[in-house]
């Protein structure tokens, strides 16, 4: 039975992924109209960030299943070794691009468009190649954390006088929560079930807050 090898917490993981993915795609869908009216670059990157986060959470869920299958069917370990890197690549690429898009949506006026797209793709692909070769989600989390810190420093430098600290905190939380999620997915990184539920509930609250903020303007 599938249920048996997927083990305890699978339902919670499925529900968590489902809610986050739906919220991300709703943010993307709800902002379609104002983007099409204005073609505003900031709105475009904001939408792209949530589209990529939605896809990243989906691919993370697939990776989660692959890891669980690998643990359950450890006697066919060679299959796990083959499949894990393949599933790690989309998770890494999509999430790196999502973080880039989210940060860039607030600093796009300072950096040229082509430069950003080329640079972000080079970095995202490079980290994906490292993910494929190393098969280490901890290393990927560390690299993305470093990337996030650098972009936050650049972003803060450009927006010292900003009054939108609440919004920026939400963006930061979304990115950090993703990194923690990825870190916890690594085999051996076991969090108590209750703690994990608490952490995932907090993550959902952050996405709900963003979605409600979007709904305030776009109904």
């Amino acid at each position: 039975m599938m249920h048996n090898f997927l083990g305890k917490g699978f339902e919670a993981e499925f529900l968590y992924t489902f809610i986050v993915v739906v919220l991300c795609f709703l943010v993307y869908y709800k902002t379609k109209e104002i983007y099409e009216l204005t073609k505003h670059q900031g709105i475009k990157y904001f939408r792209s960030a949530f589209l990529f986060f939605g896809l990243a959470y989906l691919s993370r869920f697939l990776l989660h299943i692959v890891i669980l299958m690998g643990i359950s069917f450890s006697f066919i370990i060679s299959r796990r070794v083959m499949f894990l890197p393949v599933f790690t690549v989309p998770v890494t690429y999509l999430s790196t691009m999502a973080i880039f898009f989210l940060i860039y949506s607030t600093i796009w006026k300072k950096i040229k468009y082509k430069y950003f797209i080329i640079l972000s793709n080079i970095i995202a692909i490079s980290i994906s190649v490292i993910a494929f070769c190393s098969k280490s989600l901890i290393l990927i989390s560390a690299l993305q954390l470093l990337l996030l810190l650098i972009t936050v420093v650049i972003s803060t430098k450009d927006h010292r006088k900003t009054k939108k600290k609440y919004t920026r905190t939400l963006y930061f939380l979304i990115s950090v929560l993703w990194l923690i999620n990825l870190f916890l997915l690594s085999p051996g990184r076991i969090l108590l079930f209750g703690s994990k539920i608490f952490f995932q509930a907090f993550s959902i609250i952050v996405f709900v807050v963003v979605y409600l903020k979007v709904l305030k303007w776009v109904k």
């Binding site: 902002t31 109209e33 104002i34 009216l37 904001f46 607030t106 006026k109 927006h159 939108k164 303007w217």
Partner: protein, 91 residues
């Protein structure tokens, strides 16, 4: 204020002038009322035509008038929402 914000405001003013003139205005008074240079006016004018925010119509004497399309009216309706959204999300 950012250049992009200015652009959104210029588009709003452009469309608002047309609306306030009973949705029908000749190009020359429109140019005057928008307070834009001829070059900027032409750029915005072509952009708004291309995006189908405005339309060109001709009367029986073949004089050209500028009028708002449904999309133009929709932009005017949504303008405050758009600005609010951009500000709220720091975009």
């Amino acid at each position: 204020m950012s250049k992009k914000r200015e652009r959104l405001e210029v588009i709003y003013d452009f469309l608002k002038i047309i609306q306030e003139n009973h949705n029908s205005i000749k190009p020359t008074p429109l140019l005057r009322k928008t307070n834009l240079s001829s070059q900027s006016f032409n750029e915005y004018f072509q952009e708004l035509l291309k995006k189908e925010f405005i339309k060109e119509i001709y009367d029986k004497n073949k004089k050209k008038y500028i009028t708002l399309s449904d999309k133009g009216f929709h932009y005017l309706e949504k303008y405050k929402t758009i600005l609010g959204f951009i500000d709220d999300f720091d975009l």
